[in-house]
């Protein structure tokens, strides 16, 4: 089985520097308690150059370098960080095995899918290191068929990416020093081989097997097998954690937004990478701020569209945090993906912008977060005669239009959406005006306009529509504004029992012209049946309004404005 070992030198130090960039060039050690004494577990390059070595006491290290920065080594956090990186690498391989504190194996069977200038396995190695660089980590990768070969070469050969042929393990391992075997827990064998004057793995590999067994027993035989590139150790795939969560502890409690956002970006990047590794996209995120007094402040984020991109998340959190007032500075934070679903990756097209739908998703999520989901809607026409029920709110999901250069080649009919096309060839029998799809109720005469009422004395009356007007859409006869609640009108009736004066907007207005009626009735089975005669009235100094007389109480109501 081909596998890639990713070695991340001094991984805990790299993580610390990544989260606290002010320590990037400072001498830094991570200390752990051993036998009641603080000892150096990991040291940065600057500290190593000053002569500080792992295992040294912190007191002695400070004596060597008084300006030494000392941080606590958290082995659990290191293991979590390595596991998170492994999850992110699942976009490049089907399985991984974390080996704390500074390396992991990745199943390299997906290498043929990696395209690039080199061989597939070299391309895989470059992709892995590129992803590590996005995480702010430096490393080396070796692809081999044996676990020991890959790990030993990655740790002891300063090569960025190396691929070892299935039968080339022994030759590749040959120059390595004998101490490499100690990492394979063959301490007694190493001591015995050193006593024989051997110094490299190649020399061990060339020994007769019988003599090695005679001198060092089974452990010697195993050690020689490793040196010959024979290692039957299988890959133990790690199980992804049930929830994706990242935590960051701030060096000093943050009182300003910027340091908080910096830490948050790091956590969000890792969450997004882990989600991408699992093929998921977040629907809901929960940011928990740990305050200086120990209290916790949750900041939930509901995304309008599932996303596995950290940048829009950060924009949204920035907006939420900017409006937040906390009683104490923030000492740490945790980001948890509270809800996720399978990610959908739309296919890009030639000539399409590099960001695709990202601006739309970002602004929708921002608005949904600030205004609430219910504030964003799209209108869905309903086959109802009651005007206020003729449309219902729907989730705004614009169709994915053909984009890029190919859209120019498509015929116009396929570019336009269904609802923007002219209304279907359904005609109202009385007027011949086309009706929109789903309004077939008019065909059944439920919304039959009354005959031209010649009894509207003194007012212009409706006449048969001109042929050229018949092509006009029936929806256009509806007002652009519909009042949420019909407004009861104070009316002075004329001689025909129709309004001559209406009180609108605080004053009585003369009705200059009245057109109609259009009778809408039905829903007799409902508690509030529909029985209305609608008129379009031109009011003095106001414009065209839409009013109706309710057949149940005989009163006039203002329902809309032809704005």
């Amino acid at each position: 089985m081909r596998r890639l070992y990713l070695h991340l030198p001094r991984f805990p130090v790299q993580c610390t520097v990544r989260d606290l960039p002010e320590l990037r060039h400072a001498p830094l050690v991570l200390a752990e308690e051993s036998r009641g004494q603080q000892r150096v577990a990991f040291a940065s390059s600057a500290a190593l150059k000053a002569g500080i070595r792992p295992g040294m006491g912190v007191t002695a290290a400070r004596a060597v370098l008084p300006a030494l920065e000392v941080r606590r080594f958290d082995s659990d956090a290191t293991a979590r960080g390595l596991h998170a990186l492994g999850e992110a690498l699942l976009v490049l391989g089907p399985a991984f095995e974390a080996l704390p504190p500074d390396g992991l194996f990745l199943d390299a069977s997906a290498a043929p899918l990696c395209r690039g200038p080199g061989t597939p396995e070299e391309n895989l190695g470059e992709r892995v290191l590129g992803l590590c660089a996005e995480w702010g980590l430096l490393g080396q990768g070796v692809v081999a068929s044996q676990a020991f070969t890959a790990r030993a070469l990655a740790r002891h050969r300063p090569v960025r990416v190396q691929c070892v042929a299935p039968d080339g393990g022994a030759a590749a391992l040959g120059p390595l020093p004998l101490q490499v075997l100690e990492e394979a827990a063959a301490h007694r064998a190493v001591a015995g081989l050193s006593a024989l004057g051997l110094s490299t793995l190649g020399e061990v590999a060339s020994l007769p097997t019988a003599s090695v067994v005679a001198r060092l027993g089974a452990e010697g035989l195993r050690a020689q097998g490793l040196c010959r590139g024979e290692d039957p150790t299988p890959l133990h795939p790690a199980q992804p954690e049930e929830t994706v969560e990242e935590r960051v502890e701030l060096e000093t409690p943050a009182e300003q937004l910027e340091p908080l956002l910096f830490a948050l970006k790091s956590a969000l990047d890792r969450c997004a990478a882990r989600l991408q590794g699992r093929g998921l996209a977040a629907v809901r995120l929960l940011l928990t701020l740990r305050l200086g007094n120990g209290a916790q402040h949750p900041v939930p984020l509901q995304l309008a569209r599932p996303s596995a991109q950290a940048r829009p998340w950060l924009d949204l959190f920035r907006h939420l945090l900017a409006a937040l007032q906390l009683p104490h500075p923030v000492a740490g934070l945790a980001v948890r993906v509270a809800e996720a679903q399978a990610a959908v990756h739309p296919q890009g097209e030639l000539g399409e912008g590099p960001r695709g739908d990202a601006p739309l998703e970002s602004v929708l999520a921002r608005l949904a977060t600030a205004l609430g989901e219910e504030a964003l809607l799209s209108a869905s026409p309903q086959p109802r005669h009651r005007p206020e029920a003729a449309v219902s709110p729907a989730r705004f999901q614009p169709p994915r239009q053909p984009r890029g250069m190919i859209s120019e080649l498509l015929p116009a009919a396929s570019r336009t959406s269904s609802s923007s096309a002219p209304p279907a060839a359904v005609h109202r029998e009385e007027t011949g005006a086309p009706l929109p799809p789903g309004w077939s109720g008019f065909e059944q005469g439920l919304g039959t306009p009354l005959p031209a009422p010649g009894w509207l004395e003194g007012l212009p009356v409706a006449e048969e529509s001109a042929p050229e007007q018949r092509a006009l859409s029936a929806q256009g006869e509806r007002p652009a504004r519909l009042l949420p609640t019909p407004l009861l009108l104070e009316v002075v009736l004329g001689g025909a029992g129709l309004p001559a004066l209406l009180r609108v907007a605080g004053r009585m207005r003369r009705v200059l012209a009245l057109f109609g009626p259009e009778r809408l009735s039905g829903e007799w089975w409902e508690p509030d049946p529909l029985e209305r005669d609608y008129y379009r009235g031109q009011l003095e100094g106001l414009g065209l309004v839409w009013l109706y007389r309710d057949g149940r109480d005989g009163r006039f109501y203002l329902h809309g404005l032809f704005d």
Binding site: G351, E408, E477, L542
Partner: protein, 278 residues
């Protein structure tokens, strides 16, 4: 023979690559202007329509045709496969009317904030995103009066996102748009539209529109309209001082020319030598 075929195909591939590179690097024709579709009105607008990246104010009372005019612009944008947004302060927009004017409803986002103070903020976000070609900010009946800072922020966001902002305002609560059209009832038959403010000239021009034309429907099922002057003669424009450049300028939102999103792509068929399929 095989080598010759291989060489020829390599040459074709290389030429195609070069052609694609040129097409992607070429300046793209911009969808820079949206016409209302009313020829008589477009004729008096400074640029024959509304430039994207501009802030336009439609001022008038609640039943003077502002919404219908805005919906016509939205319909034009949706026909060009662009998304539009309507920040509905009074919560009165009636989508069937929009559909009647040709608006593709699935491309129209309606935003109804709870608090009036969120109207301008929502419009700024929509404009700045660059995802929407036209954003309508309806302040009618909301009592919101935009401060100069908010108006400037809206204008900047429109320029930044390359979107057209249409603000529906009243005389009591003006919105300080760069271009202001005032609408008022015109007798019994229609509305009068006057360009009262324009930084690109044309202020003072006015037209009268009948309701049937404005609403694209037979809202007046009555006798033919009485005599209404189709166009009110606009006052003569002042003479342009010599040396002053009055040519239309590029709208700020499209200077960057982001491919594939807010600018129209070159016609691939034309580049490849074919006819225009549309």
């Amino acid at each position: 023979m095989e080598a010759a075929v291989q060489q020829t195909s390599n040459g074709v591939v290389e030429r195609l690559r070069e052609q694609i590179r040129r097409m992607q690097a070429a300046p793209r024709s911009a969808l820079g202007r949206v016409a209302t579709g009313l020829a008589v009105l477009d004729a008096v607008l400074p640029d024959g329509g509304f430039w994207l990246g501009q802030s336009v104010e439609l001022q008038g009372e609640a039943a003077t045709g502002r919404s219908s005019l805005a919906l016509r612009v939205v319909a034009a944008a949706t026909r060009a496969r662009r998304l539009c947004a309507w920040v509905d302060g009074p919560r009165e927009l009636y989508p069937p009317s929009a559909q009647g004017l040709g608006v593709a409803l699935e491309q129209l986002l309606i935003v109804r904030p709870r608090a009036p103070g969120q109207l301008a903020w929502a419009a700024v976000q929509l404009l700045r995103s660059g995802a929407f070609a036209v954003v309508v900010l309806d302040l009618t009946h909301t009592g919101v009066r935009l401060s100069p800072v908010e108006a400037r922020r809206l204008q900047e966001a429109a320029g930044q996102g390359g979107a057209l902002l249409l603000t529906l305002s009243s005389k009591d609560c003006p919105a300080d748009g760069a271009l202001r059209l005032e609408l008022e009832p015109w007798g019994e038959d229609g509305v009068r539209v006057e360009v009262v403010r324009s930084r690109r000239g044309g202020a003072g021009a006015a037209v009268a529109l009948s309701w049937d034309v404005l609403c694209a429907a037979k809202v007046r099922c009555g006798p033919p309209l009485p005599s209404l002057p189709a166009v009110v003669p606009a006052p003569p424009l002042r003479a342009v001082p010599p040396g002053l450049d009055v040519s239309p300028r590029e709208p700020p939102g499209l200077r960057e020319g982001r491919p594939g999103r807010d600018v129209r792509l070159p016609k691939l068929a034309a580049v490849l030598g074919g006819g225009d399929p549309a």
